[in-house]
């Protein structure tokens, strides 16, 4: 006979171990250390994980990593604009993707990415208020191809 215990496994239950799924908050704490793509993968594991990955705190930790100060005030503003998860999906993710990989962890770049993303996000929120089709952020869905080649003919003519 074993007694159920939520937090601490009994001595003779050592064989059963501790399941991460028993504690959603702990799971959230761990998942908040992942990067965006891994979070997306984690959300596909099971319904519990998907629910945890929908929490805005997880995405907030992702977006505000390396960014100092003002977290509580920012939380209210971002929540009003649509939440960190949406911020990451619409703006921060594409912005970070376009940074060169070496720079993606630099605090200065992350801070600038966040402020730029917030600006774009506020425009998106404003367009949603207007009820019209959201279009200002569509350019973020383009794939950036630095190797686009253009015909030499045009360049010749346009050079003064």
């Amino acid at each position: 006979m074993e007694t159920q215990c939520d937090d601490v496994p009994l001595e003779h239950d050592k064989g059963k171990g501790f399941s991460i799924n028993d504690n959603a908050d702990l799971l959230a704490e761990i998942l908040s250390r992942l990067d965006g793509r891994s979070l997306g993968v984690a959300a596909c594991v099971c319904r519990l994980w998907s629910g945890v990955c929908r929490r805005d705190t997880v995405w907030e930790a992702l977006c505000t990593r390396h960014v100092s100060g003002g977290a509580a005030a920012a939380r209210a503003v971002v929540a009003a604009l649509g939440g960190y998860r949406r911020l990451y999906r619409l703006c921060m993710g594409p912005v970070l993707e376009r940074l060169p990989p070496a720079r993606r962890d630099e605090a200065a770049h992350l801070s600038l990415s966040l402020s730029l993303s917030l600006s774009l996000f506020s425009i998106d929120c404003y367009e949603r208020l207007g009820g019209r089709q959201r279009s200002s952020l569509l350019f973020l869905r383009n794939t950036v191809d630095p190797l686009v080649r253009r015909s030499m003919a045009r360049k010749v003519i346009y050079r003064r």
């Binding site: 100060g69 003002g70 005030a73 920012a74 209210a76 503003v77 009003a80 604009l81 594409p94 912005v95 376009r98 940074l99 770049h109 600038l112 990415s113 402020s115 730029l116 917030l118 600006s119 774009l120 996000f121 506020s122 425009i123 929120c125 404003y126 208020l129 207007g130 089709q133 279009s135 200002s136 569509l138 350019f139 973020l140 869905r141 383009n142 794939t143 950036v144 191809d145 630095p146 686009v148 253009r150 015909s151 003919a153 045009r154 010749v156 003519i157 346009y158 003064r160």
Partner: protein
């Protein structure tokens, strides 16, 4: 006989190619485009024999010696007649296959011609296009010169020639497209009786075009973000701030500022926004609608916000009393591509409207004036000079739009690019067709704006590294590697392939009470003491006199109907 001569081959095949469209209907059209004449009914047969030919060639690849010596009585077959050619090849390589005893031309020659002819055709076509492009530019210059000299007949005939050339050039991109717009503008100038201003469309249309231009290219986003950064830095330490926007449009610049003010350390100030825009003809108060939306956004992020709309057709109809600047608030004046409409011809006598507008702007004692203008010289009095400048400027802009279109995925974005081109076409028409007071698009380069602002008693404010870094990061979001941001004397310019196209600068009045403060370099500032100017900077007496005496028909302060005083107590 020797190897198949290249020269006659080329003419023969080109002849075949140009004949194909009007040949007998059984010739396959697609292959005809590549230079081969094959009857559609024969396609299956030819395909099979080509397969056999391939296996025969691969199988006998060790026997090159067989190919080196063409028979002395070889009969030349035009390889564009694919059916006969493949039969003859097979007969040579696989003699077991019954077929007419014809010999193919030497392998080097046919290999060279079969495999490179399509590519050579493409290269020839590209050269032809390039030649046509250069010829178009030349014709455009000549017709502009003819118009300047007053030779209408010559200009007309040149335009006809250009139209003919345009039918042969690809007008989907590049010089063909730009030339198309310029030829259209020249035609309007020569042949349309009424002034082109009448055909410029309604303000509502203009707003839609503007919105699509905003979506399709980074120029306006760059303008908004850079101006917002300068305004944000200037508002540091102030509790009540007032922004005057010279053209509200859809108000797309302000959500980002509202959000940034909401997040600033120390809490948001009370924000007032005065938006100037054209009056709406159908009774809808579009300014008020925009104000309501911005107010809702501000309410959701808990920023005290008040909006006021001023309806005016021209900026010089606006008077300072309409803006109702209160004492003690920090004022920012924002002008995105509006000031150039107030200029006049450089050689016309008397003061231009810009001077009086700059004077009353200065009278408001703003903390910052953000000016974004096109970086081009389209205000030259001579038509040919102006035309040439415009041609090169808009070619560059269209080039950048084209690069954006090439990488964008959605149909909506393609549509945005197309509408953005219509927006640019309006500007082109204005620059080419209109003269004198009709012309509104009088772009001037940054250097001349700087001189004008300094003459008006304003001092430049350096835009700072934050604005520069933000602009650079914004550009990484746009595809097309050609965009570049440069810093010129504290102003930022955005350009395409080292040609600057749009320039942003910031200014303030130079007779301020407060000491010159060091240019802050980071987002978090030290608190700056706010010297409150006690007297209102507006000359109220003069304004009241003007109101009594003059007839302000064109401009109404839409005080009674459009004011949105939604001040939220915190």
């Amino acid at each position: 006989m020797g190897p198949y001569p290249c020269g006659s081959a080329a003419t023969g095949w080109e002849g075949g190619r140009s004949e194909a469209p009007c040949a007998a209907p059984e010739i396959d059209g697609l292959l005809a485009g590549a230079g081969y004449r094959v009857r559609s009914s024969d396609l299956c047969h030819v395909a099979q024999r080509l397969e056999r030919l391939e296996s025969a060639m691969v199988g006998s690849s060790g026997n090159h010696v067989d190919f080196a010596h063409p028979a002395s009585d070889a009969v030349h077959y035009n390889p564009s007649d694919l059916a006969a050619w493949v039969d003859s090849m097979l007969s040579e390589l696989a003699p077991a296959d019954p077929g007419p005893a014809r010999h193919a031309p030497a392998p080097d020659a046919w290999e060279d011609q079969i495999y490179s002819q399509p590519q050579r055709a493409v290269a020839a076509r590209m050269e032809e296009e390039e030649d046509s492009g250069i010829r178009l530019v030349h014709l455009l210059m000549s017709s502009a010169d003819a118009i300047q000299r007053g030779d209408v007949a010559l200009a007309g005939s040149l335009i006809d020639e250009m139209r003919l050339l345009l039918t042969r050039v690809n007008t989907g991109f590049g010089i063909g497209k730009v030339a198309g717009y310029f030829v259209d503008a020249l035609t309007r100038r020569l042949f349309s009786a009424s002034s082109a201003a009448a055909a410029s469309g309604s303000p509502a249309e203009y707003e839609i075009l503007y919105h699509h231009f905003y979506e399709a290219s980074p120029y306006l986003k760059f303008a908004h973000f850079t101006a917002n950064q300068a305004i944000l830095e200037a508002f540091e330490g102030h509790d009540r701030v007032h922004v005057i926007d010279f053209s509200l449009m859809h108000g797309l610049q302000w959500p980002a500022l509202i959000q940034a003010l909401a997040l600033r350390p120390g809490g948001p100030p009370a924000l007032r926004l005065t938006g100037i825009g054209p009056p709406s003809p159908d009774g809808r108060d579009s300014l008020r609608e925009i104000g309501l939306r911005l107010a809702e956004l501000a309410r959701s992020v808990r920023v005290r916000f008040a909006f006021r709309g001023v309806a005016a057709n021209r900026l010089d109809d606006v008077r300072p009393w309409m803006l109702q600047v209160a004492p003690g608030e920090a004022v920012a004046v924002n002008s995105v591509m509006q000031l150039h409409r107030l200029l006049s011809d450089p050689d016309s006598p008397g003061p231009a409207p810009i001077d009086s507008v700059l004077a009353w702007i200065r009278g408001l004692r703003p903390k910052i004036i953000t000016v974004v203008e096109q970086e081009a010289d389209h205000n030259k009095p001579g038509f040919l000079d102006r035309f040439t400048e415009a041609l090169f400027y808009y070619s560059t802009v269209f080039d950048s739009l084209e690069a954006g279109r090439a990488s964008c995925s959605g149909a909506q974005q393609q549509q945005s690019t197309a509408v953005a081109e219509v927006y640019l076409q309006r500007e082109i028409r204005d620059i080419v067709c209109c003269e004198g007071p009709d012309r509104a698009e009088r772009h001037e380069p940054l250097m001349r704006w700087r001189a004008r602002m300094i003459r008006a008693g304003l001092r430049p404010v350096h835009l700072g590294s934050n604005a520069f870094k933000q602009a650079r990061m914004l550009l990484t979001l746009f595809s097309g590697e050609g965009y570049c941001v440069e810093e010129v004397d504290g102003c930022l310019t955005l350009g395409w392939h080292s040609r600057p196209l749009i320039a942003a600068s910031a200014w303030r009045a130079d007779d301020f009470d407060e000491d010159a403060r060091p240019i802050p370099d980071n987002f978090i500032f030290n608190s700056i003491s706010n010297t409150n100017e006690s007297n209102s900077s507006i000359n109220n007496n003069a304004a009241m006199l003007r109101r009594r005496n003059s007839n302000n028909n064109n401009s109404r302060s839409s005080d009674s109907s459009s004011q949105q005083e939604s001040i939220h107590g915190m």
